[in-house]
Point group: C2
Chain length 340, copies 2
DNA sequence: CCCGCCGCTGTAAACGGTTACATTCGACCG
DNA sequence: CGGTCGAATGTAACCGTTTACAGCGGCGGG
């Protein structure tokens, strides 16, 4: 169809398994077996085929292979967006394990609305062997209906009925930070929220509230935010104006903490001398901020690694794995003596 | 092979174009035409096929389609690594345009050595329609030999013989920053280098040196670095110890500038009061640092966008497109009066 | 000496689409 | 009213693999 019926090497045309077989004086089956290390092959034949293939610069056609084996050796990663260090780290975690397992990664971000997600799920058949889906903003179970059956799916930071999922201990981490601030003597602790419909954000707020209440502090000081630096900046602006001014701020993620830090500095409010600041995620640059940011370490790369492993061999056992978070104390909250 | 010869819908088995055709009472050709909007189809038929396909939850098998059309609607992105905001932004730029063009993205990072690259290039046949390669550390022309012919390739931040490439004006940007520092009165301007074999890094150093020399300053103060925050931190540590101490520091990228800023703060060296600091890239958080970082804006997302477009319709015309960089002055270098 | 078996290799049928070419069927025109 | 033409659809070859099954020597055992 695309090639003249007389099989003359059309120079630029790509070389197929048939070309290699002909040149090596064997059948296509033998060449296939050599490349897949299947079945018994006489060493001499093996070497010859390999040599010929090398010389002809043959490499197997992935799509043809997929069609025949119904395996693609690639897995799909769909994220709500690709912006920021958090997602960058997630992808990296998945990527390194994928490579070590011989898998490829097809990523796609910016899936805020349902229609987009649907389009993506339509395109998976014959393209990926499994899916890692991170969609904290949406009700996870509603979108599951859209994807074709038989595709293993692992949810990241979201749960849904029977689907395997990997989540992080958001509430526990948030409680730990808040308790840390309380232990330092703070009573007026502001919280910068994440996006309203974001599951992670909601759990972190839950942890914050629980710790606040357990300490007998009645009013939670919550400020809206949406996980971006800008929103953190804006929230901090409003926090400093508030009177009595909060003595500590806990941002629901590091990006917002960075924004807040920027706002504080711009207004001459010193951290931690004038106000304590904490974040969540422990993205790589957190320790390079000035002052280094006290935050909650979530094993981001590990998150990626585990999800890849789970999607490759879906275990019928534990369907929900929750990763521990750990409080990482640096200098942005000061120490006990210097807090009031 | 995988399915009993009697075509009985095995429930969980995926539905093929043949199943849809049978159910709709048409031939596979018609179904195919409906899905591809090819050829004349009677409206009634069109609707019926679509309805049946919808009801049966049919979606075309990507691999089969690729095999037949020899197009995958996927393009590959290979990066040296995935760490940090810079790469994150590049991917994002490519991703958004890819989606709008109906293309998928298969990414892979961590390709420092040649063998890894080779393995990747082996795997492209039948998997992608084109390749966007960013490999500043390696001699680009040497690795081109490895990939199969016929695959369009666009190089990012690297050039090689006849290959189309998109690069940024590194030298120009570096010259602009350095001149800016000189104009502010600085004479002892330190430069934190990038990785030794990195092309971008080399060009930035060239720009720095040119500006220094043009101003009649004879000795360039260069400190090693490798584009990581850590290396910037380390370099800054050595810079403050040097006497006479430099009055300004130009880091070859923002990540190192962040590291340097951290080191300065840890030692009580104030920026910009005690020392001026500038970076390169203008990654998103640069403006949220304290103080906001003066840097060189490179249109990262644009870089991704253009490369995607170029790989989709390779123009035989201009093979090397160089993107302008612009000096972005913030507060990390102070203003004229307060510098000495 | 014959037979069965085993190690190696070849033949050909899938996999699930696309599309060149053939076919059918009205409508329309001379 | 027969022929032509175009629109709508069907048939089947083909894309490049994998793999079940068949074939074919040679060898050892009975």
């Amino acid at each position: 169809m695309r090639r003249a019926s007389t099989r003359l090497a059309t120079a630029s045309d790509s070389v197929t398994i048939r070309d290699v077989a002909a040149r090596a004086g064997v059948s296509v089956a033998t060449v296939s077996r050599v490349f897949n290390r299947k079945g018994p092959i006489r060493p001499a034949t093996y070497q010859r085929v390999l040599a010929v293939a090398e010389r002809m610069r043959y490499s197997p056609h992935a799509a043809a292979r997929s069609l025949s084996t119904s395996r693609t050796n690639t897995i799909g990663v769909v994220l709500p967006e690709l912006h920021g260090e958090f997602f960058s780290e997630v992808i990296r975690g998945i990527d390194v394990t994928a490579r070590s397992r011989g898998y490829h990664l097809i990523v796609s971000g910016s899936h805020s609305d349902r229609a987009e997600m649907r389009a993506v799920f339509q395109a998976v058949r014959g393209r990926v062997d499994g899916l890692i889906v991170m969609s904290p903003d949406l009700d996870a179970s509603t979108l599951l209906a859209d994807l074709p059956g038989g595709v293993p799916v692992v949810l990241l930071n979201a749960t849904a009925d029977g689907r395997p999922a990997i989540t992080i201990d958001n509430a526990g981490g948030a409680r730990a930070v808040t308790r840390h601030l309380i232990k330092l003597g703070h009573r007026r602790i502001a919280f910068i929220c994440g996006p309203p419909k974001n599951g992670d954000a909601a759990q972190r707020r839950r942890g914050y509230r629980a710790a606040i209440r357990a300490a007998g502090i009645d009013d939670a000081l919550e400020f809206p935010g949406n996980f971006t630096e800008e929103s953190g900046y804006e929230a901090a602006r409003r926090i400093v104006e508030r009177s009595p001014r909060p003595t500590a701020v806990f941002a629901a993620n590091d990006a917002m903490a960075i924004g807040a830090l920027s706002a504080f500095n711009a207004r001459g409010v010193r951290v931690p001398a004038d106000i304590a600041l904490a974040g969540f995620d422990d993205i790589p640059i957190a320790r390079f901020l000035s002052p280094p940011l006290t935050t909650v370490k979530v094993p981001i790369a590990e998150l990626g690694r585990r999800s890849l492993e789970l999607v490759l061999n879906p275990s019928p056992r534990k369907v929900n794995e929750v990763l521990k978070t750990t409080l990482t104390v640096r200098q942005s909250c000061g120490s006990e003596e210097e807090s009031r």
